[in-house]
Symmetry: C2
Subunit: 308 residues, 2 copies
């Protein structure tokens, strides 16, 4: 079963205590699909400007990623610039240029409606909902016509500025994958346990709280599951870790075809493993060189590290 | 097998978003022994002033705690006052009065030398070493004459001001149980994986890094084990959580009599469970009312929450 991801393909300029990368390939859809491609076929919908070197996505094409849904528009590609603190957990945005991404209206092709797994990366919640509406397909085995597993991400910008629209989006997704600080902000709370409970009341049947170097937590109405992050001794660049996590998470769910709590737990572990690789180098470099054998090896080690 | 703890018995004045407690019973030895008493007999060595209500420790006497090693000195008891931020993880110290604790010279009685488990709470590292020297007993089954498992804690004050003495103490302990920020400070690092590796080179065969609401991590030369914290929806007062963790951790090791990695992992889980109770109320209130059945129940739930 395949995955549809709608998000950004972008240029990132990143400064960390380990060095810097300028105008490197980034974007939520890029990180997500690079990770998910190890598990299942992925269809990407995004937009870039005509300054974007399409060949830089060849490593995705060589895997199971269909990037034909990447729209190339006259103008400049979305650019983000940021700098990380010494602890590699705190960062500040130096510059954001939406460029062609401003006014992005994804259009789904027929084949995009065949996927049972959909990831709506951090986007305007109106756009997220529009994609979900387009993904509706009466031919689906499930009579609802909607994809089996819809997950989304969001950020402070939408929580502050588009709360009503965001709540409407959340009422229609299965899994919210969100940072800890943003989970608290979403419900105006201070305690993550309470925050997760309240988010579940908004619609999702599962909430995944990403805690950066501190791990990740899964909450459903009946279960709670927490894991640390895989111990990486040499973190080079945390950019994209959250989207890589989501890629491993959704990738595992798509590959297994399962939706129960056990599968969600295993998906958390795969998400963490993929994120742990991504932080080892700038941009998508580590995901480019990554092999199945490395993933399996680290997954097995990590299971030992978290099994009591 | 019993446990010897050397630390503070004190008055705490604490303000948290959930309320405040003034001159409430606290201190590292109090929290530690309240938790450890559920697992093994505990001998406490500490000092209080003649303003201390000794009856407030009756709940410890009723369990397996021998507080006859508590010295009562003319003068005032050690007092700490602090305030917690809304996230319950950050705190600031408002006032510290050492009082009779200043110049504390623990004197071990003969029976204190029979314990195979020793916890040196956060103290002057010179004092910690002096206790270890006194705990030497040629009659021990192990020809070394030293207790089987010695664990210690420390804090920024000693790391900054008494580094050489602290390093000497660390070279003689088996387990360092330390906060994340202080683990980084100890080796002047930014990454906890590297920090733990470097601490292991200083002597301990295991390092337990306490991460507050983010969980705890165990590192030995051969193994790494991480757990989240038990999800507490209503945190009232985090004071003493670290010492309560240490109490559950050392308590489990003493009860099991094991020292391998498997036992250290299980001890981590018990430490987390005990700490999770402690934060549910001010001072030692929750530990006073706690029952074996509640511990077993939460331990079982927690195991489900962390088993992948």
């Amino acid at each position: 079963m395949g995955i549809l991801v709608v998000g950004t393909v972008a240029f990132d300029s990143v400064k960390t205590p380990e060095g810097e990368a300028n105008d490197a390939i980034g974007g939520s859809a890029t990180y997500f699909s690079a990770a998910a491609s190890f598990y299942a076929p992925v269809d990407v919908i995004a937009v870039v400007g005509n300054d974007f070197p399409l060949a830089s996505l060849d490593f995705l094409r060589e895997r199971q990623v269909d990037v034909s849904g990447l729209e190339v528009k006259e103008g400049k590609t979305f650019r983000w610039a940021g700098e990380y603190a010494a602890n590699m957990n705190d960062r500040r945005t130096i510059d954001t240029q939406l460029n062609v991404f401003s006014g992005f209206k994804p259009v789904l092709a027929e084949r995009h409606r065949t996927h049972d797994h959909v990831f709506l990366a951090n986007l305007d919640p109106d756009v997220q909902r529009d994609v979900l509406t387009q993904a509706y397909c009466p031919d689906r085995p499930d009579r609802s016509g909607r994809p089996g597993v819809v997950a989304c991400d969001t950020m402070d910008f939408w929580i502050e500025g588009q709360r009503t629209s965001l709540l409407s989006t959340l009422s229609g997704v299965d899994v919210l994958i969100i940072n800890d600080s943003e989970a608290l902000q979403l419900v105006d709370g201070h305690n993550l346990v309470r925050a997760a409970e309240r988010i579940l009341e908004l619609g999702p049947r599962a909430v995944v709280v990403k805690r950066g170097a501190h791990g990740a937590t899964l909450c459903t109405r009946d279960a709670w599951f927490g894991i640390p992050s895989y111990p990486v001794a040499d973190v080079v660049d945390p950019t994209g870790a959250g989207d890589t996590f989501a890629g491993g998470f959704m990738g595992y769910l798509a590959r297994s075809g399962e939706t129960g709590v056990g599968a969600l737990k295993r998906a958390m572990v795969h998400g963490s493993v993929m994120a742990s690789f991504n932080v080892e180098d700038f941009s998508v470099r580590r995901l480019e060189s990554l092999t199945e054998a490395e993933i399996t090896d680290r997954h097995d080690r990590f299971m030992e590290m978290i099994t009591p």
